[in-house]
């Protein structure tokens, strides 16, 4: 039986995690994500799970990675300053192919910035924030319902692809309360186990190695150093390093058609909005109030890997309009793929674009 609730976005995220089988939360309180930690502190002990408040965000993500190697579904939640602190260990998770879910309820930055106001300024940091080349998956919820559903999806993708998955929320969806229909069960994708006797980092055609859970007798060595398929450090072998890093990137990028989740409205339109996260709501309002086949919408739930192929579905597009709560981070990504104008509609300060602002952008002569 589904159940109707009136939940805050952060509560929905925590409940989604619990429904997905998350049994470890390690983190550090930070506005505007703290309600997730508080809800996990309340609920995890009753589900035989572990909540631990660590001494900082570096330790938070470290404990999550440690827990993940015991087979647990593990997560942390943070916001800008804590996200910055996590970056080195996020690279470690990418290099060691450790499944983990990192929620970033984005607030205005840089630095301490606007702790209680929404923003989307960490979209590039989430993609490129740790040193070296790697790929990740990032999902952007636009409602309390999606805070729940995309958290579940984040765990499944993380276990399937053995990669850190980010729920890139924002203060607006994290803090608002709205109607949510809570399902009675959620989809579950398990980690592929390592076949006994196989080297732990040898891969199949899907480029994803089987998981050798700690405590099962695999005797696996896990290191952030460049390693061979046995997991042993080989840090000065150029070919091996190149092959490893390319695989870490390709296992995600080559699966982007499968991973990417997006919606297309009015594919024949000549003006097309592209949005993710809270600004989706303003675009939806505009589309609702002004039904017009000439206004299109590409609504992204997955931002990374970027679904560049979806852009091509708008064959008559004359320009893309990209409202973001940052100075055009994803607009620039879109520019890489198209030869029509990409109009960045940045908004800083914590407020959403109003429908009137987006309508005005449509009126600007092409």
């Amino acid at each position: 039986m589904t159940q109707i609730e009136f939940w805050q976005g952060n509560t929905a995220c925590a409940e989604g995690a619990l429904a997905a089988g998350c049994r470890f939360f390690g983190g550090y309180p930070i506005t505007p994500s703290t309600e997730i930690a508080e809800h996990m502190a309340l609920k995890l002990p009753k589900k035989n799970g572990v909540f631990i408040q660590m001494e900082d965000e570096i330790a938070g993500i470290a404990s999550v990675i440690g827990a993940s190697w015991t087979g647990a579904r593990a997560m942390t939640a943070t916001s800008g300053p804590g996200f910055s602190l996590m970056m080195e260990n996020i690279g470690y998770a990418a290099m060691t192919e450790t499944p983990c879910v990192i929620v970033n309820v984005q607030r205005g930055g840089p630095s301490t910035g606007q702790p209680t106001m929404g923003a989307q300024g960490d979209m590039m940091q989430c993609r490129f924030g740790s040193h070296g080349d790697y790929s990740v998956i990032a999902l952007c919820p636009a409602s309390v319902q999606e805070m729940y559903e995309l958290t579940v999806k984040a765990f499944n993708l993380s276990d399937e692809y053995r990669v850190p998955v980010f729920l890139m929320a924002d203060e607006i969806v994290g803090h608002m309360r709205e109607k949510i229909v809570v399902p009675d069960s959620v989809p579950y994708v398990s980690r592929k186990e390592l076949v006994r006797g196989m080297p732990p980092f040898r891969v199949d055609i899907d480029l994803i190695p089987g998981f050798p859970q700690f405590g099962k007798g695999y005797g696996v060595h896990v290191t952030g150093l460049t390693h061979d398929e046995r997991g042993y450090p080989c840090a000065t072998n150029p070919k091996l390093h190149e092959a490893l890093v390319k695989r870490l990137v390709n296992k995600i990028e080559s699966a982007r058609h499968t991973i990417a989740n997006y919606e297309i409205l009015n594919p024949d339109a000549n003006q097309v909005f592209i949005a993710y996260g809270a600004p989706v709501r303003t675009v939806q309002q505009v589309m609702h109030d002004h039904p017009d086949k000439n206004i299109g919408f590409l609504r992204l739930r997955t931002v990374w890997p970027f679904a560049e192929f979806a852009l091509k579905e708008f064959k008559n597009a004359k320009r893309f309009l990209v409202p973001e709560l940052n100075l055009g981070q994803i607009a620039r990504e879109i520019e890489r793929y198209v030869d029509i104008p990409v109009i960045s509609l940045p908004k800083l300060g914590g407020d959403l674009h109003t429908p009137a602002e987006l309508l005005a952008a449509l009126e600007v002569p092409q």
Partner: protein, 261 residues
């Protein structure tokens, strides 16, 4: 089974320099683990970055070689998520007390059920001999070319003040005592911290007038004083030379612990 069976034979030879003290400490630790009769599949080794942190890579159990300074934080996740696993952390003075200092004191405060073995060579060995938080005053390193001007940490006092259940200090000279001490640490629920002073001929010894490996080991032998003797001398109102390292079991207590099986 002997402690040698814990080694990953296909990973040898190791990277440690000739004369390095780390191998001694790893042997003592594995010998103590062997006495515990722990199985490989229920034992996990965790480390950070540095020479000491390469130890888990040579051991044929599940092991997590993590980021600089963060081993205790990773190990906390492993242990809490599966308390049935025995978790041993290898670390060094720079890893533990500089970049990882915060995780060290909080690990002690939580009294989480880990055994942490610190190979304290008083220098950053792997990166060529920079000063660390335990480099003694006046000692030469590549970043203290005129002599270290800072006062070093006493790692054991730090662990005791922060709440660890078991704390001891020995050196690479005190092989039998060290093995017994690690064993006691493994047996004690809660956070066990064993500091082992080790010689580093390559990065420390050659800059600080220890021409031979044995010179630095001799120094460790002659500049250590048993805690019992120190206490007796203090009771008699006698002076303790300031360059003496106090060795022995420095704390053993039964404070509430976290993550115990």
């Amino acid at each position: 089974m002997s402690f040698e069976d814990w080694y990953r034979q296909d990973r040898l030879p190791h990277i440690f320099c000739a004369g390095c003290g780390n191998g001694t400490i790893i042997n003592c630790t594995l010998a103590a683990i062997e006495q515990m009769a722990w199985k490989k599949e229920e034992t996990v080794f965790v480390s950070g970055i540095g020479c000491s942190s390469r130890a888990p890579g040579y051991i044929a159990a599940d092991s997590l070689h993590t980021t600089h300074g963060r081993a205790i934080a990773f190990a906390t996740g492993v242990k809490l998520a599966n308390p049935d696993l025995n978790v041993v952390v290898f670390t060094g003075d720079g890893d533990l007390a500089a970049i990882g200092g915060n995780h060290f004191i909080h690990g002690c405060r939580r009294n989480i059920d880990l055994t942490v073995v610190c190979m304290n060579n008083q220098i950053y060995g792997m990166t060529g001999g920079q000063g660390s938080p335990t480099t003694p005053r006046g000692c030469i390193s590549s970043t203290t070319p005129y002599g270290c001007a800072e006062t070093p940490f006493d790692l054991c006092e730090l662990a005791i003040a922060s709440g660890a259940n078991y704390v001891s200090r020995w050196t690479s000279y005190h092989v039998k005592e060290l093995e017994k001490s690690v064993l006691a640490g493994l047996q004690t629920p809660g956070f066990s911290f064993i500091e082992a002073l080790v010689q580093c001929p390559t990065a420390f010894g050659r800059r600080n007038k220890f021409k031979q490996v044995s010179d630095q080991v001799d120094y460790l032998r002659t500049h250590t004083m048993l805690k019992a003797k120190r206490d007796r001398l203090l009771d008699q109102g006698q002076h303790i030379p300031p360059d003496m390292y106090i060795v022995g079991e420095l704390a053993r207590r039964n404070r509430p612990a976290l993550g115990v099986k």
